[in-house]
Symmetry: D3
């Protein structure tokens, strides 16, 4: 039942995010997993959620016709946002803005194939005042069964 | 005043954490920054805080004689923990345990040298039931001026 | 001082909410308690609060001329909302919407009459993406002395 | 894709909890769903989690050999606890205790059979000072895809 | 219905706390309000709650035989603690300790006498690492109708 | 390393806030510390943050050209707001409004001069329904190294 240390879905999502765009993490190349990347900048939390959901649906990471897949993704996004906001999931209401890249990976990270598919949402970028430069980095990762 | 995209302190801390132990992120090799890595596994939040603080003091990342440095580190640790716990900073009280690696980096990530030193605490590992394998990955990053 | 197991104010509010509109919970019929029901759907937390407050005032559950009654009701509403939102009291800012029924009950649920009046606010309905069907149920209950 | 208003999994769990033990909600009798009830009283959040998890495994509601099922249940339990604690999931650390009944229901509440199985955890009881009678009612409901 | 600016219950509690022990805020001397002061130092949130509750009962600020008074006080204490802990009400579990003075005031701060009695709990002191000097100040205030 | 009990930065900020405008706390007169006062009333959290930041920059409490100073101030403001809102930093989204005075103090509160400068943000005023009089007092204090 343990995680397969060669197929860590969170790590793959994070490396996909942190590496240059043309550098695909080695593992992701070898696995038959679905993934995509995107960007979103906003003071509005719902735009961050929407950007990740739209990418996941448009890139075929999740089936938009199934609520259970949207539900799995949604909770993974909220968990990732809570890392970026360090707990409260508030952005503009606290006079801050985010400039984020996101990566979404869907695959089976456990050795036991019965554990099925999981989804990871990683967010990385900056958070700070709505003034260029008044910001520092932030990260978040949400993982859910799907 | 912007972040220097070649000296991203959070990214360096995250890559230090996600790479194999003998692979040092390129940038960290070139910069005259302080950093260290460590591990902690616990159901007890205060042990996670203590492990990171002890490493930072023992490895000379912060001066233990100055409260302002301990204060900067402490808030960075709490912010990182809120990513790992996805908001509530509770571990054992919710019947879960963490197995984490941590990286601490201290340096000057802004182009303007007057922005001075900052500290990044990154946590990466697993969180889940206190049973081997019943766990998934988690990440957290806290950044503070020091 | 214990709760009277025949006069559980929270349970009455919940059953009033969960039963069909023409089915009044047995206990509520017998007690000389004040109660009302209503509906609200919104992505906006303040509209949920306003809908419950307005109903409570219009139906004579609380005296609108007394702040202490509004205060008691307000905290009961927030506690109920935290059940529905599972902790953060955020709705639209996280790209979700609620479709809720609410019940408000005011009465004396303790055996000792000196414990006086209490108010219960129960919310039940759905929460999810702002798309019909992409939602699941949620509940919340707030109880306060009044 | 909408919820089937005759198969509301959350409502069934709540009615199972609020009704007398020998009264089974009508719908649950007709459906081929799995469910169980139990009790737990504690000042210790992890005991509440453990009691629900143990019941779910022992009564065959979830397969203990699959982490994805434990994961689905765990998050449903935490969501239910956040209703009971009204947000912070802390019990004894804030000098309060809970006396709860719980119901767990597993079934397919959506009209579209492809939406598959979902799990609902409902908690109902009292929360208050660790002194008999110094307490009021609380409820919580967590729902997850499984 | 407005607050009487000469009878601000929160301000009185805060000044009672911030002034030297032999200096009683002017207003409190003139009003027929109940109040007391005390101290508590702990890494354990429940000890803070208990210290304030015990003082309030022993000094006759609240009637211990009425749960509604304990309930009013309890929520005021939690609100004050959330100021001290800046949101999460966790102390030792995050490896920090508090050294607090507290003041409790009970009176009628509104011009309209029908608004009745309210209770204020103020906490002031230090929070920090469990090492002398590694700490800074913190404050909290909770106000409730009683 | 301990706090100098004659130079308590938080207490000075609180007394500056709680006293009449023409009464300057004794200590502040003697110390060579920077401080200012201001007012803000809003249902919008970002306006509270902005009002305090603008005052701090305009009154020369912090250097607006340095992000590290804005960062120190920002976290102090959020900590103070969490006292006022008792944890969630939400105002208008929960149908409430604040009428606050704020004080900002910058100085060196520790005996050891190497501890350098710290900043305190104190907020005091009322929080309640957006109707005159339906409100009670609230306080918050955030302290950070700068
Ligand atoms: Mg999880
Ligand atoms: Mg920051
Ligand atoms: Mg209560
Ligand atoms: Mg959900
Ligand atoms: Mg209040
Ligand atoms: Mg601090």
């Amino acid at each position: 039942m343990p995680l397969d240390s060669n197929h860590l879905i969170g790590k793959e999502a994070l490396l996909l995010l942190l590496h240059k765009e043309d550098q695909l993490p080695e593992k992701l190349r070898q696995l038959d997993w679905k993934y995509c990347k995107g960007k979103v900048g906003s003071m509005d939390g719902q735009k961050v959620v929407a950007a990740v959901e739209t990418a996941a649906k448009n890139q075929g990471i999740i089936k938009s016709s199934l609520y259970r897949e949207t539900h799995a993704l949604y909770h993974a996004i909220l968990e990732a946002m809570s890392g970026v906001t360090r707990g409260n999931n508030q952005i503009g209401t606290l006079l801050r803005t985010v400039g984020l890249q996101f990566a979404i990976v869907r695959g089976n990270p456990y050795k036991d194939k019965e554990e099925g598919e999981w989804i990871a949402v990683a967010l990385y970028g900056t958070i700070g005042a709505p003034v260029k430069g008044l910001e520092h980095e932030a990260i978040g990762l949400g993982i859910n069964h799907i």
